[in-house]
């Protein structure tokens, strides 16, 4: 898998950087492998020597982003106590990190929502990143001291991950300047989410709680 010396590593890095720059400024579709190669100062064949396809370049970016944000999130979580602050911390890391890549992620979603597509956030190939991501929410819940109804305990982290994916989708589509609407959406929806988790324990809502638990079991059953 191209395990070479520092020279090799450097070329590989240069190709990846060029690709990211072009993806960011022009989007995924518009960028050609020929441009990436020439921008990186290598021949087309070399680009293919290091990355077997245009998609492979994106997978490399995913992995990189996953590793980077993981470290940032672990750090951020250690500084927050209550549930809302802890979820917020995860979201802040994500949105700050992906901010320069919004256009690129947009174009990417256009190639990634197909379940057969390896780049999909739900695909087999991206499972590792996804599971790590879900575990962040598990951590956020566990150390927060929030009382979670036992029926919901199992699936709540995954549900929060879905909530996060929804926010990211909204953000990608958000045309408001500096994506201020997404900022509002987070500010206003996060308290709702946290409050829903809190009131879920109320006896009055027991029937709905049961229905939701039943629903989640059916959906996530293996």
């Amino acid at each position: 898998m191209h395990r070479g010396g520092p020279k090799s590593e450097e070329t590989r890095g240069r190709i990846l950087t060029s690709a990211m720059d072009l993806f960011r400024s022009r989007g995924f579709e518009q960028t050609t492998m020929r441009e990436i190669a020439s921008e990186a100062g290598v021949a087309l064949g070399s680009a293919y020597y290091y990355f077997e396809s245009k998609e492979a370049l994106v997978m490399a970016f995913y992995r990189q982003a996953g590793d980077d944000t993981h470290k940032l999130i672990v750090q951020a979580l250690s500084e927050e106590k209550d549930l809302q602050g802890r979820i917020r911390a995860i979201l802040d890391v994500k949105f700050r990190y992906f901010h320069p890549n919004r256009k690129f992620l947009g174009a990417l979603f256009g190639h990634a929502a197909d379940p057969e597509n390896p780049l999909s956030p739900f695909s087999e190939e991206t499972r590792d990143t996804r599971e790590t991501d879900i575990r962040h929410f598990e951590d956020a819940l566990r150390e927060s001291g929030a009382k979670i109804p036992k029926e919901l305990k199992l699936h709540l982290p995954r549900l929060l991950w879905m909530y996060q994916m929804g926010l990211i989708l909204f953000w990608i589509y958000d045309r408001s300047p500096s994506q201020t609407r997404t900022g509002q959406l987070i500010d206003k929806s996060l308290p709702v989410v946290v409050n829903l988790i809190r009131v879920a324990r109320f006896p009055l809502l027991r029937p709905i709680r049961k229905m939701v638990a039943d629903l989640l079991d059916a959906v996530y059953r293996v």
Copy 2:
């Protein structure tokens, strides 16, 4: 816009039919414009004369599907009284109509979730279909006799449309035989949705109701 005689109309129709057949059996990506043209018995250039791109063929399909399901939904709604039955009627029409096209829609989502992409369900180009769709849920609510808190009245139809989009996305990803899991998801989630609408009026939930209304106003404000 290629307004020609009946001959032209017939050729156009033949190309669209061939495309749909091939999209269904092979998916969007795998089908080539050359195949579509040859299947329709015309030259490649001719296919491009009628449809300026492969995507344009899909837009034509969208419009067709929108018109067809609209008629079916109006009919189905006239036969249902209570809210759950009425929402269910809309969903049933949709899923029955799209059933033969699941694979095709899947491949399509892989090219349609990009906000810049005209095929996106959120794009400017698909606005008409989307607004008609949302109006179906408005109708379902209005004649159902369900009491809707006034803060939620404005945005609830759009929210139900989002619920429907979520179900369709789940269905596209659903690998279970005959998509039985999607069936379960609908059976179990629809009562939750209807019950949430019902309990939303409870005084106990007033704070959350206010927060949600505030959230919706911010998100859908123009």
